[in-house]
Every structure is written in C-alpha cells, then in structure tokens.
C-alpha cells in the first residue's frame, strides 16, 4: 500500500538478548510531520528499538516500512540512505574541529580532493536560519555550550537531508532555557514536514511538545495515545505499571540532634591552585534532609570527598555522631554510620567487572555475617543479594550473578541505593542520586530518602536539579565557588531566588555558624 499515512512504521518488532527480551512485539508508527514521543523507563527497550531502526541491531521478528513499503535496514548506512538521522544522548562531535567541520564531517563535498567549504557554509547558514538554529560556524566545539553542541547535532542531520529525526533524551544535558529553545526548534522542524521521534522519560516535556506518545514497559508495547487526550498521571501509570506520585509525599521534618557537623572545612582543589571548598561550616541533624544546591563544579564534589574520606581536607573539623572523624579512614566512617551514594556510579559506586551480588556486599563483605576467618560465605552473600534484589526491585539479566557492567543505569543506581540504605546508616550522603533515572526510579529514590529522614536519620543531598532541591529537602544550602552563600527554607524561597544565589549574583553575609 503506497501513500501510507505513516512515514515510518515498525511492526511487531522482537529483539532478544541473552536472558532478556528487550523488545517484545513492539509496534511504532510515525506520522509525517508529527512529533512522536517514545516513553518508557530505563530498560524498557527504547534504545534497543531505536537501534533496530538505525540498523545497529537486527530484529528476530517484525518488519520496518517506510512510506508503506517494506525496507531492510542492515546497518546505519542503510538508515542514512532512508534519510533517518539521530541525535545521540552523548554527542558525537569532535571537540577540536570547528562547528562547520563537524557538520560536514562524513558528507564533505570535494573537488579534486579539495574541500568545498564555501558551498557547505552556504547550505548550513541557510538551514540554521530557516530553523532558527543559531550556531557560530567557526567556533571550536570544545568552546561552545552544550545547548549549541546540540544544535550542531541537529544541523548535522538537516545537512544530510534527513526527514526522520530521532532525538535520544535530548534534554538530559540542557538548562531550562535551553530546553524551551529546543522545543521551539522541534516545532519549526515539523512545520517543514520533518517527522520527529522524541525519546524521553520526562513527562513535562512530552506533554508540552509531542503530538502522540507511545509507551513501552519492560520491553512490551503498552499503547499509543494522542497527547492532548491524556495526562501526566495516566502516562506515568502506563509507563511504570502503577500509579506514581509525581510530587514527593512527605510530612513535616522533626529534626533532633546534630548527626554531622562541619566546621571551617577547607579542601584544596586538584584542578587549580585555589581551594575548592573554602571555610565551610554547616550541620545535618537527625530527621532532616539538607540539600546542597549549586551549579556543577562549585566545590560540591570536593566537599563530599572530604566528608566521606576520599580526600583529605587541609583545614577544619568533621564530627559524625559526636565523634571526631576529620582524619578517620573511609572504613571507619562507614562503620560509624555514614553511607555514601556517590556522584559517579561507574567510577566509585560499582566495580563493573564484579557481579551484582559482589557489588551488593561491597560495603560489608568483611562483616562476620559474610565471612568466616577470611573465607567468604557465598551462601550468605547470595541470600543477602536476593533479599536486596527483591526488596529494592533491582532488575538484571541473570539475577545475583549478572555482571554489573551489563545492567541498565537505573538498575545500577538502585543496586547502589539498596546497598547504602540497607547498611542502616545514621547519615546518608546522596550525591545526585537520581541522575539519568526515570520517573519511577526517581519517585522510588526520593521515597527512600524521605523514609530515611522519617526513621530519624540525617540525609545530606547534593543535587543540581532544582526540582529535586525544592521537592525533597527540608533545608537548602547554596554553594557558590566553594562557599556556602545562603541557607533557605524550601517553603519560603522561590526557584528564581535560588537561581540568583547559585549564579553568584546574590549572597548572604557570611555567617560563622549555621544552625
């Protein structure tokens, strides 16, 4: 049937991997000129489906049609020939090349081996004007903002005359202003009869920008809806398979005694000569969530390293539960009741070559319950891992013996959260615990943080996401250039006000001690 209403159809796609069916009979139909959102949790099969469309994987069953005709896509070149283009979540740009060079890379026009850059420049400028994609063609990619890098990626697709544009989680790296801009660009693109597949797990954006939305869950097709006829709540229920509370539910905090006190802490920087953390003092009490807000790179990482013992402070004093831990080892702090959900789960959080069960006992393999005279009790480790996997719903291909490397990001994070919370700490230091996770997982982790608080533990949350800062915390400390420049009650402060402090435009007079 020619003249199909759909520009791309993926019908009954099934793709299996050892131990897991990533796509189980999934159908996705993209209309010409629409923005079609593909919604699902981590591990729901979105990326696999797109990889099938892009020719990176061959499905075991199902077929792909373009304009009604069956096509075979056996590698990315086939996809390009069909005018399918993709903006990857991690940009595929060469840092030291200029914007223009990056755009034409791989599709250069040349005469006798000489690049015809003027022609290319003309075409790119035209495109960028037509779609409102403002870029500086002669700037090097390493010097431009993330938002502009993304526009470069979009121009790359347009330069190759692609008609079907896939955006893989395009907003994950953008600021709120940049997200607004991107949405405008997407609408402009559809006006010019481009069709867009928009992969996301952020409901707000999907509601704002998409025409239709297809929901996947655990590798299965759940349904396709008109965006205007649905709600965030319905979508999240379809995605997670149960009702989700989009706002963190929590009662008032009942802070008690200090769990952690930080006095005049100074930490040298590894990047430059100045101190990364300058004379910082604050405390975390039992039964409250204190959040450190700030733009990335303002000393939060170093502060956490000093708190958790990964780096030595050059001055100051730390106490945990009344004990001086300024120069205590990591293990001693851990035994004293500190748990740490690290910022970088691949660098610190997990040993990727170890199995899930080995990773789950990483903080307590030395406890008598898991070893006897130095011999690991494998049965106890397995039983404990199975308990945590069930309790915290950690999904993986082969259960306890899955290699951590092969797990999805969300489930890796769940494993870390399970390990750190199940240790029953007095103080939980959580650094960007929901980075890169979907609504279901975010809700879950926020719930766990509040549970810890309500159980009378102290929680120190370091976050870059203002939504999270405002929703979860009981007290906000804003960090700017290594100093704490303000302390707020989330109920009494606005996001705009916080933004001013985070950008360094405003600051409270320095207090010697914060209560």
């Amino acid at each position: 049937m020619p003249d199909s209403e759909y520009v791309i159809e993926m019908l009954h796609i099934t793709k299996e991997f050892p131990g897991i069916i990533a796509n189980d009979d999934i159908t996705l139909q993209l209309k010409k000129g629409e923005i079609h959102a593909l919604l699902g949790e981590n591990g729901a099969g979105k990326s696999t489906l797109m990889s099938v469309l892009f020719g990176l994987y061959q499905p075991e069953a199902g077929e792909i049609r373009k304009n009604g005709e069956v096509v075979k896509i056996s590698d990315p070149n086939d996809a390009t020939a069909l005018h399918i283009g993709m903006v990857h979540q991690h940009f595929q740009l060469i840092d030291v090349f200029t914007v223009l060079d990056n755009i034409i890379l791989g599709a250069e026009t040349a005469k006798l081996g000489f690049l015809q850059k003027d022609e290319a420049r003309k075409k790119v400028s035209e495109l960028s004007e037509r779609y409102g994609l403002h870029v500086d063609l002669d700037a090097k990619v390493e010097d431009i903002t993330v938002g502009m890098q993304q526009r470069v990626e979009i121009l790359k697709m347009l330069y190759r005359d692609n008609e079907i544009l896939i955006f893989d989680e395009p907003t994950a790296v953008l600021t709120p202003q940049e997200i607004k801009e991107l949405m405008l660009i997407m609408r402009n693109l559809t006006k010019e009869s481009k069709s867009i597949l928009f992969i996301s797990h952020k409901l707000q954006e999907i509601m704002e920008v998409s025409d239709r939305v297809t929901v996947l869950r655990k590798g299965k097709y759940v349904g396709t809806l008109e965006t205007k006829n649905t709600t965030k709540e319905e979508l999240s229920r379809m995605m997670v398979g149960r009702p989700v509370h989009l706002v963190v539910e929590k009662g008032p905090a009942h802070p008690a005694d200090d769990i952690l006190t930080v006095e005049h802490l100074t930490v040298p920087s590894k990047l430059h000569k100045n101190n990364a953390v300058k004379d910082v003092s604050f405390s975390v009490r039992a039964g409250e969530i204190v959040c450190i807000a700030g733009i990335d790179g303002n000393g939060q990482t170093e502060l956490v390293y000093a708190l958790t013992g990964l780096e030595k402070p050059s001055a100051g004093k730390l106490s945990l539960c009344g004990q001086n831990i300024t120069s205590a080892t990591v293990r001693a702090r851990s035994k004293n009741g500190m748990s740490h959900i690290p910022e970088d789960r691949h660098k610190h959080g997990l040993i990727l070559d170890y199995t899930l069960e080995q990773n789950l006992v990483l903080q307590r393999y030395w406890e008598p319950g898991f070893q006897n005279k130095g011999f690991i009790k494998f049965d106890a480790v397995r039983a404990y891992a199975q308990k945590l996997i069930a309790e915290y719903d950690v999904r993986s291909g082969q259960g306890p013996i899955t290699k951590a490397r092969s797990m999805s990001g969300g489930n890796q994070q769940k494993a870390i959260v399970a390990r750190e919370i199940d240790k029953d700490p007095e103080l939980l230091v959580a650094v960007q615990p929901t980075r890169g996770l979907d609504v279901g997982a975010i809700e879950y982790i926020h719930k766990k943080l509040v549970e810890q608080r309500d159980a009378g533990k102290g929680v120190l949350l370091v976050s870059l996401e203002l939504d999270e800062v405002m929703n979860v915390s009981d007290r906000i400390l804003v960090m700017y250039e290594g100093e704490i420049v303000g302390e707020f009650d989330p109920k009494k402060v606005t996001v705009e006000e916080l933004g001013l402090y985070m950008a360094g435009a405003k600051r409270d007079r320095k207090e010697s001690e914060t209560a």
Binding site: D25, K220, V330, G349, L350, I351, D353, Q363, F375, I376
Partner: protein, 420 residues
C-alpha cells in the same frame, strides 16, 4: 543427556578449555610446518628427517630414542615425563606469580628478578648452614622460606613504588630484574660458595646436595625412574590450589581483585588500595621466589652464578604460562606442564635429529605465540554457537508470535481490570 551436553557446552569454562586446546593444536601445526620447511631447505636434513621432526614436535615427550635400525621409537618414557614435571615446577610458580598480579590489575614482568632473589637466598641458606649441626630437613625448610621471603621482598619494591608514587610497575620491575641480576652475581662472586672441587664446574655454585640438602622424592623417582623429578611439583600444585582458594574464596582475594578492577571503587568501599597493591606484588614475588627456591633445592642442578648479563628464562616464561591459562591458577598447572613438555620435546629434537637448538627455540616460540590466539578462538567458538541459536529462534518465531500476542492481550485485559 543431550540437554546436559549442551549445558556443559554453554559453560564459559568449557569454552575456555576448548579454545586453549584448539590454539595449542594450531600452534603445534604451524610449528610442524616450520619444521618441514627448515627440513626441506636444509642440506643436512632429509625429508625423512623432516617427518621425524614433526613426529617429535607432537610426541617428543613419549620419545624413547631410536631402535637398532635407526627408526624413532615412541612409548612410555619415564625419563621424559619425570623431567617434564621437574621443569614444570618453576614454570607453574612463575606462571602463578604473573597470574596473581594480572588478576589484581598489575603486570609483573619482574618474575625473573624475584626468581633470582629467591635463588640467592635459598642457596645461601642451604649451603651456609652446616648440615652436621642442623638436621638437613630444617635447613631445607629455612632455605625454602628464605627464598619465599626474598622473592616477596623483591616483588614488594615495585609494588611500593606503584602504591606510593604511582610509578608504573612494568618500568620498576624491569629495573629490579637487572638490579637483581647484578646483585646476585656480585653476591656469589664474593662468597665462598663457588664450586672449586669439581672439574669443569667453574662458574657454578655448589649443588645443595653438597650440604646434604635436597627436596625429597616421595617415591616419584620410582614412578619416573631416571628422571630429575621430586616433590617440588607437588608443592607447586598445592600452592596453585592455595592461590586459587585465596583469589576466589577469601575476602583477601575479593579485596585484591577489587583494587585491580576499579581502584576508585575499592577506596570508596574503604579497602586499603595502597596496602593491597604492595601485598599483591609481594605475593607474586613470593611465588617467583619459591620457583627459584624449588628449582635449586632439587639438589641435582647447579646455579651458574655469573648472571649479570642474562635473566633466567623461567621468569619470563611465566608470562605465556599465565596468559595461556587465562590467569586461572588451576589452569596454570596444566599450561606450565605443557610449556615444559615443549622444552623436553625440543631437547629430543635436538638430540635425535639434525635440527639444532636454535631452530628448536624458534619452533617452541612459534607454538607459544600461536597458543596466545586463545581469545580469537574463543570468540570464534562463541560466535558459531550464537549463530546456531539465532537460527533456531527465527524458525521458532512464527509459532510463538501468536502466543506472545495472546499473553499481551491477556495482560491488557488484566490492566483494564486494574484500572477499573
């Protein structure tokens, strides 16, 4: 039965062993081709001689010499088998040494130096303590422990430099190798342990048996009469089992491997990464030290003390032994014996045919080199297996598609039920 077989085949271990065996066979086949080419192009070797060479490459360990007509004879050769086991002892231990370091993320290229350190300490203790005063078995134990500790110390040096100053252990190991070679030469040069009583043994140290100290045979000499084998091989096997247990069953192994796999995460978990790096190099060094110790304590070999220009082969041969065994301590026992069997086959080739010792070395090197194609072979085996599975699945899809659809419908119905 069929299911059991396929389950056995699906095991990673089975595939590893198969891949190792196939790569060894390929190595020997290519080695044979070299034997044939050399044989056919050389004036001194007839085509019959070339064919004899091939037979010796594959079955040199069973060679029993020539019969009265001059044909090669094969059969049970206790001398060759016993000597294979004797020579395997240091190879297994240096192989273990390299494997332990590899498992903890370190490349111990310093096995040769650690071997020399162990050698020097062992010989000194075994020869300097008079057996008239102290019982020989006590001297043996002291000499063994001395070799172990000296090796551990020599291994700990690059370990410490790596842990504290983050200097690459490969660089420092190469340097400690040559420092050991010169130190040992100097040490024996000024010692009174040089053999001056036997004719033709200048440049050698006394055998430990001069002091009545030698590793017991434990009946192995009855099993392999005429060979040099002794209980050292049993000690090596026991140590391999102990290393296996340490690496895979204990918290120490868990920590050591964690440091190797991700030093940052290990620190995050409160594991003392610096101590562990020193420790794994010390353990690796101790194993190489024991390699030297057991080789010379046999009592029937003598040490050429002027080593400042050359490093012992046993040190470097530990690297292919470990690689071929994919760093599995138990597998190291077998690959160590295999390497030593190759050497014995090479000797037969040299003794029984016109091939000289240099071409023999080239052939053994080729076999070892090609044996390292293990990973390629393993990928090939797994790939073939996967393709087979894929085929089965595609043919099965039409039948199961209906079922999945049904299951999905069921689920949808259930969901609607939930919603209401």
């Amino acid at each position: 039965m069929k299911q059991k077989l396929s389950a056995f085949w699906a095991k990673d271990g089975t595939r590893s062993v198969c891949a190792s065996l196939i790569s060894i066979l390929i190595g020997m086949a290519v080695g044979s081709i070299i034997v044939i080419i050399v044989g056919l192009t050389s004036k001194t070797i007839s085509s019959k001689g070339a064919w004899e060479g091939v037979r010796l490459v594959f079955a040199g360990i069973c060679s029993t010499g020539r019969d009265t007509v001059g044909n090669l004879t094969f059969g049970f050769s206790p001398v060759n088998l016993g000597n294979t086991l004797f020579r395997a002892t240091p190879l297994i231990l240096t192989g273990l040494s390299v494997a332990v370091a590899f498992k903890t993320g370190l490349f111990n290229i310093g096995a040769a130096g650690q071997y020399l350190a162990g050698t020097a300490a062992t010989l000194f203790i075994a020869l300097e303590i008079p057996s008239a005063v102290v019982p020989a078995w006590i001297i043996w134990i002291l000499a063994f422990l001395g070799g172990l500790l000296a090796g551990a110390f020599w291994g700990a040096i690059p370990g410490t430099l790596k842990a504290l100053l983050n200097i690459n252990e490969v660089l420092t190991s190469i340097m400690t190798n040559w420092i050991a070679a010169n130190l040992v030469t100097w040490f024996f040069d000024i010692s009174n342990l040089k053999n001056v009583v036997e004719y033709g043994k200048t440049g050698y140290i006394y055998k430990t048996s001069f002091n009545g100290v030698s590793t017991p045979k434990l009946g192995l000499d009855k099993l392999f009469p005429g060979s040099q084998v002794n209980a050292g091989i049993l000690i090596a096997i026991v140590l391999a089992v102990l290393v296996y247990i340490m690496m895979s069953k204990t918290t120490l192994g868990y920590e050591l491997k964690a440091c190797g796999a991700n030093r940052h995460a290990a620190r995050y978990a409160g594991i003392r990464d610096k101590r562990n790096i020193v420790l794994s190099m010390a353990i690796a060094g101790a194993l190489s030290g024991v390699a030297g110790s057991l080789y010379w304590l046999s009592g029937n070999t003598e040490f050429f003390w002027s080593t400042y220009q050359s490093l012992p082969d046993a040190g470097f041969n530990g690297i292919p032994v470990a690689l071929l065994a994919v760093n599995n301590p138990i597998a190291v026992v077998f690959t160590g014996i295999f390497m030593s069997a190759l050497t014995v086959a090479g000797q037969q080739l040299k003794n029984l045919t016109a091939y000289n010792e240099y071409i023999t070395n080239v052939i053994t090197a080729t076999i070892v080199y090609l044996s390292a194609f293990y990973l390629v072979i393993k990928m090939w085996i797994s790939g073939r297996k996967k393709r087979k599975i894929n085929k089965v699945q595609t043919s099965a899809v039409p039948d199961s598609a209906d079922e999945t659809q049904k299951a999905l419908l069921d689920e949808n119905a259930r969901k609607e039920g939930d919603a209401q």
